[in-house]
Subunit: 429 residues, 4 copies
Amino acid sequence: MDFSPSPRAAELTAAVREFIDAHIAPVESDIHADIARRRLSGQDPWAVDPRVGELQALAREQGLWNLFLPAGHEGPYAERYGTRGGTGLSNTDYAPVAEEMGRSFLAPLVFNCNAPDTGNMEVLLKYGSQEQKDRWLDPLLAGEIRSAFLMTEPAVASSDASNMAATARIEGDEVVLDGRKWWSTGVGHPDCRVGIFMGVSDPDAHRYLRHSMVLVPMDAPGVTVERMLTAQGVHDEPLGHGEVTLTGVRLPVTNIIAGPGRAAEIAQGRLGPGRIHHCMRLIGLAEMALDLACRRASERVAFGKPIVNLGGNRERLAGARIAIDQARLLVQHAAWKLDTEGQAAVEVSAIKAAVPKMAQEVIDMSLQLHGGGGMSDDFPLAGAYATARSLRLADGPDEVHLAVVARAMLAPYRDAAAARTTADAGADR
Amino acid sequence: MDFSPSPRAAELTAAVREFIDAHIAPVESDIHADIARRRLSGQDPWAVDPRVGELQALAREQGLWNLFLPAGHEGPYAERYGTRGGTGLSNTDYAPVAEEMGRSFLAPLVFNCNAPDTGNMEVLLKYGSQEQKDRWLDPLLAGEIRSAFLMTEPAVASSDASNMAATARIEGDEVVLDGRKWWSTGVGHPDCRVGIFMGVSDPDAHRYLRHSMVLVPMDAPGVTVERMLTAQGVHDEPLGHGEVTLTGVRLPVTNIIAGPGRAAEIAQGRLGPGRIHHCMRLIGLAEMALDLACRRASERVAFGKPIVNLGGNRERLAGARIAIDQARLLVQHAAWKLDTEGQAAVEVSAIKAAVPKMAQEVIDMSLQLHGGGGMSDDFPLAGAYATARSLRLADGPDEVHLAVVARAMLAPYRDAAAARTTADAGADR
Amino acid sequence: MDFSPSPRAAELTAAVREFIDAHIAPVESDIHADIARRRLSGQDPWAVDPRVGELQALAREQGLWNLFLPAGHEGPYAERYGTRGGTGLSNTDYAPVAEEMGRSFLAPLVFNCNAPDTGNMEVLLKYGSQEQKDRWLDPLLAGEIRSAFLMTEPAVASSDASNMAATARIEGDEVVLDGRKWWSTGVGHPDCRVGIFMGVSDPDAHRYLRHSMVLVPMDAPGVTVERMLTAQGVHDEPLGHGEVTLTGVRLPVTNIIAGPGRAAEIAQGRLGPGRIHHCMRLIGLAEMALDLACRRASERVAFGKPIVNLGGNRERLAGARIAIDQARLLVQHAAWKLDTEGQAAVEVSAIKAAVPKMAQEVIDMSLQLHGGGGMSDDFPLAGAYATARSLRLADGPDEVHLAVVARAMLAPYRDAAAARTTADAGADR
Amino acid sequence: MDFSPSPRAAELTAAVREFIDAHIAPVESDIHADIARRRLSGQDPWAVDPRVGELQALAREQGLWNLFLPAGHEGPYAERYGTRGGTGLSNTDYAPVAEEMGRSFLAPLVFNCNAPDTGNMEVLLKYGSQEQKDRWLDPLLAGEIRSAFLMTEPAVASSDASNMAATARIEGDEVVLDGRKWWSTGVGHPDCRVGIFMGVSDPDAHRYLRHSMVLVPMDAPGVTVERMLTAQGVHDEPLGHGEVTLTGVRLPVTNIIAGPGRAAEIAQGRLGPGRIHHCMRLIGLAEMALDLACRRASERVAFGKPIVNLGGNRERLAGARIAIDQARLLVQHAAWKLDTEGQAAVEVSAIKAAVPKMAQEVIDMSLQLHGGGGMSDDFPLAGAYATARSLRLADGPDEVHLAVVARAMLAPYRDAAAARTTADAGADR
């Protein structure tokens, strides 16, 4: 048992931290304020801030680029697109790097490591045809375009995939997409060129073979971004979350990823690492909130004392410290299990149920310590809160993940109970 | 002991409910959507929607107007400004009426019963000179103008009033205001004409006699609305929360309410009923969220069942039902104590510590049951959440109110412990 | 709306408090210590302490006797058995009296107001034949004998009454009882002479008509007290909780209460007031724990301060204060509803789900403030904890009561959802 | 980063598990029932059950003996007293072994790895003179005698060591002990021969040099075991917790460990590993409770379903699963830090604040799922609960450990705030 990071993980974590401190932190709040200013004055808040592009160029130059690329699946891409070291990282090694990025809203984008692009790139890497890779993966890895994932639907409880209503009918050489999707992150960005759409291609197939994933150019006829959503008041520029309709969108069948009926299989593979990334970034976000809380509580004075010395504040801060540390270890363990055993579905559900809730609570505590300022945009806490809160729903609500954990842990007992019942029935005869 | 409302309370509660159902509910979400549309398209989101004025006229016509006026303090105003029955209501009787209004964001304004106008009107009613009443109270009661309360400051922990840095220096016949205030609710409204400003007038006086309250016209030279704040992303039109600077604002000393040094005394009187109103409206807001949760959970289907039948959802709904009912009773009891004993400071602190937190939790639970929709503006839950969350800070954070409760409950024990120590010391001699 | 107790309730509450302070409190801990001493030294801990009988005689003399008798159901008994005022109390009026008794473990027994005797007496009062009343009710009201309630079974989940396995077969003029019951409170007392046994009398009847209640003398052949149970280590003398087997116990059919098949109906009537009593006593118990906490925290010194001034202790005490006050109001409201509307099943389930949990948490908090002493028997906290904890299971576990609340609150939504579905189906045609 | 146990840890964990399953589990509940039977029938519940001695002999034979011995500090003892492998284990390697033992109340004693003997043996190992080792350490390692730790006092808040009132006055060649101690675990065992007593030896010294630790034979004149305490009703045989008075106990100064004034230093060293052991055993205890919960909930049926399928039960089980896993990782990390960096005081405080509370909650949840049975002694849950609950107080209450965590995390902020204030003051000049 060894809790120290590998040398490469340690080196990259430090490099990312230094990059953020040196280059992102000094401009980040100004970039966000600028977006807010544009939004309130009727200018386009989605227009790309040139400073982001400059930061991306610098990150790529330093090899702090596409660090999410999974070891063993990155082919020649890590080298070609500038990942420092020229090879991908294990989930275990990427975890602390992702945490570091999570302290800043902008950092994941700057390092080309943001959701949903990372998940989409992984899908292309693992399941895409060479043609699909050439057309979409290369520019995504280069940061020239961005992408979206079109899965969740407004009209049904999307926590149950069998509810999905959108269709991807195959008609000869073509696949025809129809449906309404929302919470499609990334469609607000002007460079968003492609979405991965999920729909029913064969309603009569086994429920794991019913759906297909299709690459859909965002400018294809019939694709409409109906509106950008707010998440607890937050627009989340520069990526944003969109509601998108697809009406009779006709595409060549070659746009289907890995062939018809394989969406469930792909989704399974996509979501494991993606959820680990989300959770590690949330750990970073919670650390950021706790750091602000400690600072604020040490500096502000009320009733003659720094507020850290009032009431239960110290206990709350210590509780947050412990909660974050526990959560980090749980995520690191899941990442390590995924690396060493090749799958960790139950462990990933466990972190997905535990970490966003923990982050929500830590951020809320920090917000409370900041008083009115915490509610406002003067601190990144309201935004952080919305991010954490969203992730109690995105990629499956807490309750669904708890159910996965429960099913796994109860399986042996259910079998034993069944065996006993059978034996009893036998004894009765 | 009798838990039934008085006939007048029952009648007014029913009337308010019917008015909301018949007149406000059908347009409310459209009014909010319109504001959002204007905000996103660069138009003025603060411009008054004419439908609100029409609703106000209708409410006043029906006597559902100024119902907040406190029995025994309303003078001829209740009759003159159309309160049904012509007299004010006790806190006990107003409580269920306020709860009813709390189910809608717009209703308090429609019935001229919204914060901070109600608190400001009460201050003028109880402490204002005839001249002050004629100039400001009459148009406020008529709903012709709106008002703000300028108390909280960004630079200090405002939970401790002795931190207040703004000044109200008296120079001969004039009082000169300087300072920076924020979370001044109402300044976003175009009709906001007057603020009640609180500042230090005599830094050397006893700490209860140090501050004064001054009526400041919002168009007085030196008054600047620096910006409108968001509260967890919510702009809260049509009233909004502003940051306001006052720089050398010169006003006649007759603008001081009740004379110099009486701000603490006035604040004490203002905040009791105001906090009860806030809490009762939050009860209504929580009921609204619970109603939506029950509906959603009964209609949406996942894994073959209405989601109300999945996991712990029923327990969560029942828990919310119980939490709301307990909170309502605690508020009603505080209102009754204030009516019957003339003061209930500890009880008011207790509800202020308990109710916003309860509302936050119930709304968050409902939001979770709504999935992505709950995060968006398609449901009033994100807005309700921000309202409840804000009130864990506004009018004193939870922690300050818990400290008030603790101090009161511990006083007899502290005295007993002190007596024992003295006796011991005596015995030692 | 009026939160003041009636004059009679106020008078009796004060009288009970004074009696406890003057007569019970001075000997209570010594009586418990004596029981513990006997238990540890191999003497009979169940032998009756003569001081209890003296206290009972004094209570009866002062008319503080059988105060639980329900107004309108007490017949001539209130007068005959010395209830002060000569008539029974409403649930609303009895509530504060029961709370007062709940501050002491011994008081309910001293005032002849302890479970399960009160419930059993109510059953006899409302459903007993004259013969049954003469034989059992009179001596119970006189405090000459005690009783038990034989319902819960070890072999099945007794939260679901349809699981009950014990039988009460009717054979001609006789009823034959067989089964194993546990958590039969009261069977440890040497004066326990009669139990009310519940068993299946007609397995084929509708599930509400399947069971009967039968008066069973504890010395009837076939009745065996197998052992006395501990509840979290607590033996709960002088009443205790027993495990009892009944093997072919033959009794005349006239021992059936109200006739065969009426157990469910009787249980329903028995449990409402009984649960209110339990909850009110728990409010008193929680008050006792909070009182001890305040005292201890004000007196003990650590790190140079009374521990009340360390960390979050004040917030915890204030939180307990608020939690108790909310719970009390909820119970009082349920009692009032039962009095004014004749039934309050959902409200009673709500308090049964909320109050024991609240009491458990308050007592645990107090215990923590007492350090090691709190764990020991030097303070009544470990005992209080076991009492509160048991009541999260006794008379239905929390979860069952939450389910009752949920079912009631969701009924209108379910019906609406059903109506909508039907309408949709219609529209589809 | 590597979460797999070392081969030796894996081997010993498996061996301990098999030993418990094969030898301890089959007799454990009978041994406890026997103790209870003796206690209730006036026989001596503290008499040693010969089966325990036989199990100890077998464990020693298999080298599953004194596994707690710390690597690098065990001298020749590991080999001499039969520790498998002949050398001590690191904290990291011992952690999973201790967890395994924690699943059984008896196992720690059987493997000679129980508190407080382990801590006392470590003190002797690290600080004892050769004479002290020969007299006390050898028989302790052989399991021939047992020991106690006399630190906590009933009259003061012992969470603050500076409150300690007991004295160890040095008079020439002798040290004289006076004081009253309680929660001295182990003194109930007939083989308890020696205690480590802590008292003030120099009241005027610096507070870290004020106390001494003295080896006191339990049969020394002036030592009286006043009584055995119950912890939430639990007597905790065969070790128990005693209250002990020491009145003018005269011992040679050579009984002082490591010389006068070194108690604080020794306590610091003793408590780190001891707390890790406690926490790891609690992890095992929580696992035991969760295992019982899963089994019970899968087997018991109510309302037509296994109760695991009712309400929020699955979510509660999954939540417990996650809570235990997080806690285990936190403890393992603290153990690893202690091994690799030589100290981990803050990490140890973090686990001490987090783990007992987690265990308390998991056990309480399991108890609730067991209904009345959970409260009784038919399941080990009431006992497990008392153990976990006690450890929220023993070795420092939660609140003290949270304060340690807070102080450490806030130190850099406090310094920064101080620096800023100084700089501001400089700027003002």
